[in-house]
Symmetry: C2
């Protein structure tokens, strides 16, 4: 293995680094290694040198010497003089093939790739472990916030009873902005796209895929089994309106896109991503703008929260370089790597098993007894109604809007009740319904 | 070394654990190992067995088999069958001697001892490193909150520009309670003592020693040099009155006991512990009761915050057992340990170098022009006054109370100005002054 030749006999040794991808994260990592070069060298015990950077478009003008760049990414993972690979391309292909090839070539790997780790993490970490190599991926979840490693290490003695995370900066920015400015989703999204906070194709963020990958990774670490992406229930934030945000506010809540995992039994998890009403007093409620946060409840540690910048060039570089420093330290002592693999095969529960409270907004005929009739229908499905706000929206057409919070009930029952309510002639339209976490 | 005999060839191997101290933390660690036994075994790859517990009073009745206990603590650290020592006694002596002896006997050590790590950390971690052993101390700072290891690892690439922590649960509980109930310090302390939240001799918490040890450890890790305890400026919370808390509230602040470290230049740190006004909008402001938190600003990662339960049996056990699991994993792969030592010899700045804002409460003669005269005196020392609250406290004696916030100024100058103001015949008394963080 290339790493075996690298155990330093003097402080003049250098860890040779190959970077795959030179976008936001790659260029940030390069800059951090350069800016904090001396401090990093002191911490690792020897220097770090970026010797090769793999990019797609070799023709694009750059500020760095052109012989640093290549569009032949395989040549980097095959280069026997390179000790560690930073995989900062994203996506499953070709990133997955390149990571696998690097590990098979005896190179330690640091990746920021959430989709890859969510989909192929079990296999790749097992491969690293079997080779005595490190495969670190702190940057894949929560950007610069240390989440992955603390969950693997410092919290490892706990049974995790629940985790809830704001894991996507774009959606948190949009929801924060909609709330502060009483603005519509579409307008805020367009503005976020113009400012570069949201992609021109925003699906990955807005529809909750990004959060799904991240909560799948966290659940896999916490429970030691790969949680398949397909086993995560997923809803995005497109359906959230400024009216919902305003009603939530009146009722004492804010709306956040959360990734949530909780064990329903020893070997069955419910993992879900959806907009959620959380009380204003909850620690997650004050995590705004592009900030991310993870709240954890463990059986011994109790409540914990980590928050910080969950994306962007510099914070993500912080996580990548933190991992790289650990790789360097491990190489310095001739260590075997500290990959902690997880296995396949945990069962995930369908969303219909959920027991929670719900926010519900209905357009109803503004008639006497409508409230009683609604309560009756919900009652038949064991759904009981708690708080309520009501206003007339169209006096001529005699239409009103009613907002309920339910007491805790079963989602399967709630959905059946909603279907029944939708058919009732007192209901004009089910405007929206959103899950609540207490 | 005992550890060398332990590299497991099968899943039936057991890591033999000796515990020194069986108070709050020791009994919590024992319980966590028992309650979460199977999950921990899965994570480490083999079992953990507590084979010996060292206590002071062997006669005290306990629920566990009496042959587990001994009051001969040396016999535990000398026992060749024991692989790892949990040092949960606290204090420098005999804990320090026992840790050193355990390391010299080839045993990995996990400690929760903040005083020992603050005073002897550099020497002990160097010793562990030289022996290829682990000396972990996550529980020494922030109880169950992962702080120590994330600072050593995931954040290692950053230049830390500032850290501020609420690191003592007892004082945070007292300040929270004084604020919520408009209560006096003495009354709340007495109640906290009655409830067991404060020691009968509360000096270690109340006068800031505990926070001093913790911020000294964090500063030593972040800057790679031992920050001597004597180099940390220290003030406790005894002087804080409910009047100060009420004025702070009116001005938009809360009062917290903070440990703060910031580099004034590349090799000079200012490290300090004192009550501090922080704006209500700051993330630390909402950390209440016995909760702890650390806020970090790094050059790449930006703002980060970790919060959770900073003390108590279960949260502290969480950190101790997390460290123990890492020791176990390292032993399982026959690793060399991952001790990261720091060196001696960083310079600390005196508090007079500080540049910050101040809160100041004065009892003054209630006369015309008093404000102008005060502003004049402060102005002579480059201290300019910002916000102000004023009220008459004794109309007969013509006494009033004035509260100022200053603009940012130098502490040396501020103190000179205060001395001058104290001599002035318009000032009856300097009631209190407290530093402000913006």
């Amino acid at each position: 293995m290339a790493t075996e030749t690298l155990i330093p006999s003097s402080a003049n040794r250098v860890l040779r680094v190959g970077i795959l991808g030179f976008g936001t994260v790659g260029s940030g990592a390069y800059r951090m290694l350069k800016d904090n070069r001396d401090a990093i060298q002191r911490k690792v015990g020897f220097g770090m040198e970026v010797v090769r950077i793999g990019i797609r478009d070799i023709g694009k003008p750059r500020d760095l010497p052109s012989d640093l760049f290549t569009d032949d990414l395989e040549s980097i993972v095959d280069d026997p003089s390179i000790d560690v690979i930073l995989e900062l391309i994203g996506g499953v292909d070709p990133a997955g093939r390149l990571v696998e090839r690097a590990l098979n070539n005896g190179k330690n790997v640091v990746t920021a790739n959430k989709e890859l780790m969510a989909k192929e993490g079990s296999r790749l970490v097992h491969l690293a472990k079997s080779k005595g190599l490190d495969l670190h991926y702190e940057a894949a979840v929560g950007g610069g916030i240390p989440i992955v490693q603390p969950l693997k290490h410092q919290l490892a003695g706990n049974d995790v009873l629940k985790m809830m995370g704001i894991l996507n900066g774009t959606t948190n920015y949009i929801l924060t902005k909609m709330s502060r400015e009483n603005a519509d989703f579409g307008d805020v999204l367009a503005e976020a796209q113009a400012k570069g906070y949201a992609e021109s194709d925003p699906t990955n963020d807005i529809d909750g895929f990004d959060t799904t990958y991240k909560i799948s990774i966290l659940a896999s670490i916490a429970f030691g089994k790969q949680v398949p992406v397909a086993g995560v229930y997923r809803e995005g934030i497109r359906s959230i309106t400024k009216e919902d945000i305003r009603y939530a506010d009146v009722l004492g809540y804010v709306i956040k896109l959360l990734g949530i995992v909780e064990p329903l039994s020893a070997d069955r998890l419910l993992v879900r991503v959806h907009p959620t009403l959380i009380p204003k007093g909850h620690q997650l409620a004050s995590v705004s703008d592009v900030y991310n946060a993870l709240w954890i409840h463990g059986d011994f540690v109790g409540d914990l929260m980590f928050s910080g910048r969950g994306a962007g060039s510099d914070p993500t570089a912080s996580a990548v370089i933190g991992d790289l420093i650990d790789v360097g330290r491990n190489v310095a002592i001739g260590g075997q790597g500290s990959a902690i693999p997880w296995d396949m095969g945990i069962e995930t529960e369908p969303i219909e098993s959920l027991e929670t409270e719900y926010y519900l907004r209905l357009r109803v005929k503004d008639k006497p007894k409508v409230l009683g009739q609604l309560a009756m229908i919900f009652g038949e499905f064991d759904v009981s109604l708690a708080a309520m706000e009501m206003r007339v929206v169209d006096a001529v057409a005699e239409l009103g809007e009613i907002v309920f919070l339910t007491h805790k009930c079963n989602e399967g029952n709630f959905r059946k009740a909603l279907a029944e309510v939708g058919k009732s002639d007192i209901v004009d339209r089910v405007c929206n319904w959103i899950r609540v976490e207490g």
